[in-house]
Structure formats: structure tokens, C-alpha cells
């Protein structure tokens, strides 16, 4: 059985590590990481992962623009937005830009996995 692949995008290595651990334990293969929106778009194009986790706030092209670019490139892209508390308007914008779902920090692994399930169907 081939493990589903995921690209993790967040400018904090701390957050990337957390998300990575949660997803790996759930059977994902982390095929790439990105620290900026620009890197996220580039790596998506290279890696074509099954799933992308994307932080909203990142330098050099924020998460929302990155989702927009990725969705333009691949309308079937499955992007999961990661947001901190208190960012409803931004998350709505992200969904409008093409993100399929979101999770809120602090992460609860069960919620992350629920969201992933919904996104991947």
C-alpha cells in the first residue's frame, strides 16, 4: 500500500516538526517542506503531493497567495490551511483562494486527522 504524500509548509521548524510527526504517525510520507509561500508553490509543482499543509502567515508570499497559485496550477490540489486563533477572516479568504479545509493551532492530532480525512475524501 502506497503511503499518501504530504508537503508541509510553515516558516517555523517547530510547527513543521509537529505537523510532520502527527501525519507520519498516521501513515503519511512527508515528501517535502517549505518555509515560504514561494517555496511552497515551487515544491508543489515539483512533488505533486497528495496533500499540502499550509501556514497562513509566511514570508515571501503568504499562505493565501500560495494556495491561490497552487490551485491555479492544479485545481485538484488538496491544501489544508494551518491557522492560529483569531484569524477567521484570513481563513475564509484562504478557503476562497482554494484551500479545502483548515486546522487551528494549537493542534490536536485528532482534529488534524479529521480534517485530513475530509480533504482526502
Amino acid at each position: 500500500m502506497v503511503a499518501p504524500t504530504v508537503l508541509i509548509c510553515d516558516d517555523a521548524i517547530f510547527m513543521r516538526t509537529m505537523v510532520s510527526d502527527i501525519l507520519q504517525q498516521a501513515g503519511f510520507e512527508v515528501v517535502g517542506e517549505a518555509e515560504t509561500g514561494a517555496q511552497a508553490v515551487e515544491r508543489y509543482k515539483q512533488l505533486r503531493p497528495d496533500l499540502v499543509t499550509m501556514d497562513i502567515v509566511m514570508p515571501d508570499m503568504g499562505g493565501i497567495d500560495a494556495v491561490r497559485e497552487i490551485t491555479k496550477f492544479d485545481p485538484d490540489a488538496k491544501v489544508l490551511m494551518c491557522s492560529a486563533m483569531g484569524q477567521q477572516a484570513l481563513v475564509v479568504e484562504a478557503i476562497q483562494a482554494g484551500a479545502k479545509d483548515f486546522v487551528v493551532k494549537p493542534f490536536q492530532p485528532s482534529r488534524v486527522l479529521e480534517a485530513v480525512q475530509r480533504v482526502l475524501g
Binding site: D11, T17, E29, Q88, I95, V104
Partner: protein, 649 residues
């Protein structure tokens, strides 16, 4: 499955420190003027990241504090709040409070007094925090569900879809938006109650309803709504017929399922426990010694096949040594980074105007050396600001620019790194130091002049501070002697240059790496000594022509220089014949800074990588030596502290 934050505590701290570094840099940039947009952006992002991380770690007090700061920064970013000097100060104070709070963070920790003070200051300057949805220390939300009566706007063609959100829904407004969006994909959403705007902005889970004109089935509609997440209840009312559904739990991929473990992540960096690097260092040290022994053995028992393998092995050990030492090398900016902030704070506290320049940020040094030299540098910087650089008024009166110039530079010099702290202040007051030295009996009564080296030796004595005030910053017993001691302990040396009225430069010379150094082995009598190459300029054969006598003392004539000449036998007080100047002896030209000297030894054995074992012993007893090593044949050798050889002359 729950997340155990303690596993990530170290990572949290490291990452937070990086964010704090960025915050301080941005604050300094903002204070200096110039384009504000980028630094403000950086500040906002960094604060946001710290908030997210600390919330994840359940350090609630820190997260809330970061949230407040983020709100203020958001207002600044949007132009709703002016970035005036008093707000800058409040932000600096907040950054400090945040730093200590992070160091002491724990789940139970509440707000520190520094945080409370900083928050008060922020509020005084920038008003209260904006209405934000930060719920504070989260307990499970009791989720007061607001029942929304289905009202008139929903009259009309189509089906009514009623949704109640789960009590623990996060960002319920977004979920509601998503639900409407998904249903929209199936047809037309003719009306929403409450309005879509109100829905999107909702901070608590609610119930809502939509009127939808669609050809999709009830199942499809319900599925679409549920796919938005956090739906406790959904009902599609088709011409009065209703169907209730309760929330179904989504099965999570559990353990026990056959999964392939992820292969190594393609990352560019790897975080290594520092203890592992130290262990590697020790091992390579042992390997270097063993290699030396093997080479010696193969030299005395030649065997072509063995020779070839031995050469190969020796080369591999060298390469391995290089790789490991490189792993330990770290650019100095990692420690220098915090100095601009420190200089700014010190200068302000003392009402001095200081322009701080850092050069050579990319120069690399062994990480333990860099860690250790941080404090001495801080002391030198504070000294320069406190005693070296004059007040703006004094400087103006002396025809100098009002702002003093303080330069911290790092540079390579063959096998050493030079770290310089240089100021253009008043220089060290020679007469005053001399007067004090005379009073303490450290110099002859008649001494009226003293050169830089002698001056340094004087002020490096503990207790010779001539500072008028013992300020909070320097002079509290931690004198330049501490810098000297620390540097020597690291195998380095300190040098002073000062000109009255013009300024002072202190140079710390350090070997690039601590544990393995290249040294010249020399024999004197029956003992062997190691001279680190950082202090060796050249060697020559003892020759009547180059050695002459001036006033009865031997000197070395080296091309056009006349250098003092020492005999290693005398230096180490070996019970050997007095200076004989035999034809088979050799001379090593040693140096410290600008000063050079000749050292006569019985024999030069060769160059070798030696593993430095430092002494634990009290420094007094072994002033001439900085450590010891084991040579290839297993016998010990003392490592000379070359700098100390210059002190008697």
C-alpha cells in the same frame, strides 16, 4: 492520541530564540528610521509564530502575551497606530519580557511581573488590545448554542437546510462559510439566515439555515454540509418532510494499520544534540593519536603493502577530522547577533551616543570557543561604552563627532581568529594607571612611561580599576583580567592598543578550534614541548651569524629586525648547562600580535596535530603552559602558552 509537549520543549525554545532575534533586529531597524514596512511585517510574523508555538506547548501566559503584542503590531501594520518613540520603548520592554517568559515557560506559569509591566506600558501608550477572539486559557468550550429561528427570508422555493454546529467547533464562522460554499456547488443558495456576513464573523458555534434551489438529493446535500466539518446536526427540509441525523464520528486511521514508515525527510538541515558533536570530537582526537602511533610504527618497520594502506588510512583520518571540525564551526554572528541590542541599551543607560559596527559576521569559529568568548566580548563592549567613549558634549568639545564609533570585528589570521573591539573614545589614561600602579607598588617609583603591553599587564591585574563610579555595567570586580583569564584558558591571547584622546583597541586572538591544533614539537633537554602553530612564525638553524649579543644579552638578527632571544631550557628551568649556543640547536621565531621573539630549542621534532587536553589545575602553578597532549609514542608533552613567554621581556 494526544501530543506530549515536553518532547518539543527544546525545539520550541530554539525556534523562539530565533524569532526573538528577528524581533530585536526589526525593532532596532525601526528605531533607526528608514523604511518601516518590512521590519513591521517581520515583527508581526515573528510575534504570530511565537503565539502559535506557545499555544501549542500550552504555555498559556506566553501565548496570551504574544497575542496582545500581535494585536498592537497589527494595528501599527494597518496604519491605525502610530509608531512613536514611547511605543518603541514599550515594544523593546515587551520583547525583553517575552524573552524571559519563554525561558521560564511552563504550562503552569502565569504572567511574569515583567509581562504585566510591559502590558501596562503598552496599554498606556497604545490603548487596549483590539477585540480579538483569543479565548485565553482554554477550557473545553461549553458551547452555548444559539438557536436561530427560521424566519421569513427562508420562505420561497427550494429546500431548507438547517445546520447546527458542533459545540467544540474551532473558527465556526469559517466552517459556516465552508458549508454554504459546498452547498452552493450543488445549486443556488437563495437565502441564508443569519446573513452570510454574520455567519462568517461568528465567534461561537451557532445554528443557521439556508434555502437552497437544487436538483441534488437530500443525501448529497447533507454530505456536502458535513464535508465542511464540525457539523453536529444537519436536516434537509423538503416540503415539510424532515430527517434527523446525529453526528457521526469519523474513524481516524489507527495504529495497527499496515503503513510504510516515511523514508528520511529531504531536509537541508539536521539538528544534532551538541553532546554528540562533543563525543565525535573526542573520538576523532583519539583516532588522531592512534594514527600518529601507527605512522611511527610503519616508519620503523617498512612494508610496502602496509604502507599503502596506512597512507590511505591516514588520509581518511585527516578528512574525517576536517569534516568533524567543520561541523563544529559556527559563524560568529550567532553570538554577535545579540550585541547591537546590548550596545543600544548600554549606550542609552549611560546617555552616550554610539554607532555600532560589526564586521566579519561570517567568520567561523568552533562552537564551544564561540560560546565561551561571548561574555568577555560583552565585557569589552560595556567597557568601551562606559569608560572609552565620551559623552556627546565631551566629544563635541574635543572636536570629535558627537556619536562615538564602536567596532566589533572578526577576522582570520592563518590558524587563528582575531576578534577586535575598537572604540574612538578617550583611550586609557596611562598616567592614572601608572599612578595607581606606583601606589600599589606594582612598578618602580620612577616609572613614568609604559608601553601598551606593559599597560595591559597592569590593568589586567584584578583590583586595579580606576573607574570613578562602579557603574552597574562594568567595574564590579569583573575586570579585564577576567577577559584575559578566559582567553588564555581557551588557548588564546589578548592584546591592547590605546592612544590618549583617540581610542582603544583590544584584540582577542583565538585558535579556530579548541581540541585539535597543529603544533611544532620541540625538544629541550629530555623533554618535549608543543608550540601551537598559531604563534609560530618560522624556524631557522642556530647560526653564529644570526645570533649576536647586545649589552651581554643574546639577540636574534632576523633579516632587518633585532629580536630578543630566549632559551627554552631557561624558560622551563631545566637543570641543564647554561646557554651554550651549540651548532646543532635550532631557533623558533614565535610571535604574539606584533611582537616577535626567538626561542632556542635543542631540536625540532616536527609538526603534528595534537589533541589538546586542558588543565584543570589552578592557573598560577602552570603559567607557561596551556595544556598537555599525548604524543604519537604515547609519552606526554606540555603545550606552551606562547603568549606568556612575552611577558618577562
Amino acid at each position: 492520541m494526544s501530543l506530549d509537549p515536553s518532547r518539543y520543549a527544546e525545539l520550541f525554545r530554539t525556534e523562539s530564540r530565533e524569532q526573538l532575534s528577528a524581533i530585536n533586529r526589526a525593532l532596532l531597524l525601526l528605531e533607526q528610521g528608514g523604511d518601516a514596512a518590512e521590519p513591521i511585517s517581520v515583527l508581526f510574523r515573528a510575534m504570530h509564530t511565537v503565539k502559535g508555538m506557545s499555544a501549542t506547548m500550552r504555555y498559556h501566559a506566553v501565548a496570551e502575551f504574544a497575542h496582545e503584542l500581535e494585536s498592537v503590531l497589527d494595528r501599527v501594520r494597518r496604519g491605525d497606530q502610530l509608531l512613536a518613540p514611547d511605543l518603541m520603548d514599550a515594544l523593546f520592554a515587551s520583547a525583553d519580557a517575552l524573552e524571559t517568559a519563554i525561558d521560564e515557560a511552563s504550562e503552569q506559569a502565569g504572567q511574569t511581573p515583567a509581562m504585566v509591566a510591559a502590558l501596562q506600558r503598552l496599554r498606556d501608550v497604545a490603548g487596549g488590545s483590539s477585540t480579538s477572539e483569543f479565548p485565553g486559557a482554554p477550557t473545553k468550550e461549553t458551547g452555548a448554542l444559539v438557536e436561530v429561528a427560521v424566519a421569513d427570508p427562508l420562505d420561497g422555493p427550494g429546500v431548507i437546510v438547517r445546520v447546527r454546529q458542533a459545540a467544540d467547533a474551532m473558527l465556526p464562522g469559517v466552517r459556516a462559510f465552508m458549508a454554504v460554499q459546498r452547498v452552493r456547488a450543488l445549486g443556488e443558495v437563495a437565502a441564508v439566515n443569519p446573513s452570510l456576513d454574520a455567519l462568517q464573523a461568528s465567534a461561537v458555534p451557532i445554528s443557521f439555515a439556508m434555502r437552497v434551489v437544487t436538483t441534488a438529493s437530500v443525501d448529497e446535500i447533507e454530505h456536502a454540509v458535513r464535508s465542511a466539518g464540525d457539523v453536529a446536526f444537519v436536516e434537509v427540509d423538503v416540503s415539510g418532510r424532515t430527517r434527523r441525523e446525529s453526528r457521526s464520528t469519523i474513524e481516524v486511521v489507527a495504529e495497527g494499520e499496515e503503513v510504510t514508515r516515511a523514508s528520511a525527510r529531504p531536509t537541508r538541515h539536521v539538528r544534532i544534540d551538541l553532546a554528540r558533536l562533543d563525543a565525535l570530537m573526542n573520538l576523532i582526537g583519539e583516532l588522531v593519536i592512534t594514527r600518529g602511533r601507527l605512522l611511527q610504527l610503519t616508519a620503523s618497520n617498512p612494508d610496502p603493502a602496509l604502507d599503502e594502506s596506512m597512507q590511505m588510512a591516514a588520509r581518511l583520518v585527516s578528512d574525517l577530522q576536517t569534516e568533524i571540525m567543520t561541523m563544529r564551526m559556527v559563524p560568529v554572528w550567532q553570538v554577535f547577533d545579540r550585541f547591537p541590542r546590548l550596545v543600544r541599551d548600554s549606550a542609552r543607560a549611560l546617555n552616550k551616543d554610539v554607532t555600532f559596527v560589526v564586521e566579519g559576521k561570517e567568520i567561523e569559529l568552533d562552537r564551544s570557543l564561540l560560546d565561551e568568548i561571548g561574555e568577555p566580548i560583552v565585557h569589552l563592549l560595556r567597557n568601551a561604552i562606559g569608560h572609552g567613549i565620551e559623552s556627546p558634549a565631551e566629544r563635541a568639545a574635543a572636536g570629535k563627532p558627537r556619536a562615538g564609533r564602536l567596532v566589533l570585528s572578526a577576522a582570520r589570521d592563518r590558524a587563528a581568529v582575531l576578534i577586535r573591539v575598537s572604540d574612538d573614545g578617550r583611550g586609557i589614561d596611562r598616567p592614572r594607571v601608572l599612578a595607581r600602579a606606583r601606589a600599589l607598588g606594582l612598578v618602580d617609583e620612577g616609572t613614568r612611561e609604559v608601553d601598551d603591553d606593559a599597560l595591559f599587564r597592569l590593568i589586567a591585574r584584578p583590583g586595579l580599576s580606576t573607574a570613578e563610579q562602579v557603574s552597574d555595567l562594568s567595574g564590579r570586580g569583573v575586570g579585564i583580567d577576567a577577559v584575559q583569564v578566559k582567553t588564555r584558558a581557551l588557548g588564546g591571547s589578548v592584546e591592547l592598543k590605546t592612544v590618549a584622546g583617540e581610542g582603544t583597541t583590544i584584540t582577542i586572538r583565538l585558535p579556530i578550534t579548541l581540541a585539535i591544533v597543529r603544533a611544532l614539537l620541540a625538544r629541550s633537554g629530555t623533554e618535549r614541548y608543543a608550540l601551537p602553530l598559531t604563534h609560530v612564525r618560522e624556524t631557522l638553524e642556530y647560526d653564529r651569524d644570526v645570533v649576536q649579543h647586545v649589552k651581554g644579552k643574546p639577540v636574534l638578527v632576523l633579516r632587518d629586525e633585532v629580536l630578543p632571544l630566549l632559551d627554552l631550557r631557561d624558560v622551563v628551568r631545566q637543570r641543564a648547562a647554561p646557554f651554550a649556543g651549540g651548532p646543532n640547536r635550532e631557533i623558533v621565531v614565535i610571535e604574539r600580535g606584533d611582537r616577535k621573539s626567538g626561542l632556542v630549542v635543542d631540536e625540532l621534532i616536527g609538526q603534528q596535530d595534537i589533541v589538546v587536553k586542558q588543565f584543570d589545575a589552578a592557573r598560577d602553578g602552570l603559567a607557561l603552559f596551556s595544556g598537555a597532549t599525548i604524543l604519537a609514542d604515547g609519552a606526554p608533552a606540555l603545550i606552551m602558552d606562547v603568549g606568556s613567554l612575552f611577558e618577562g621581556t
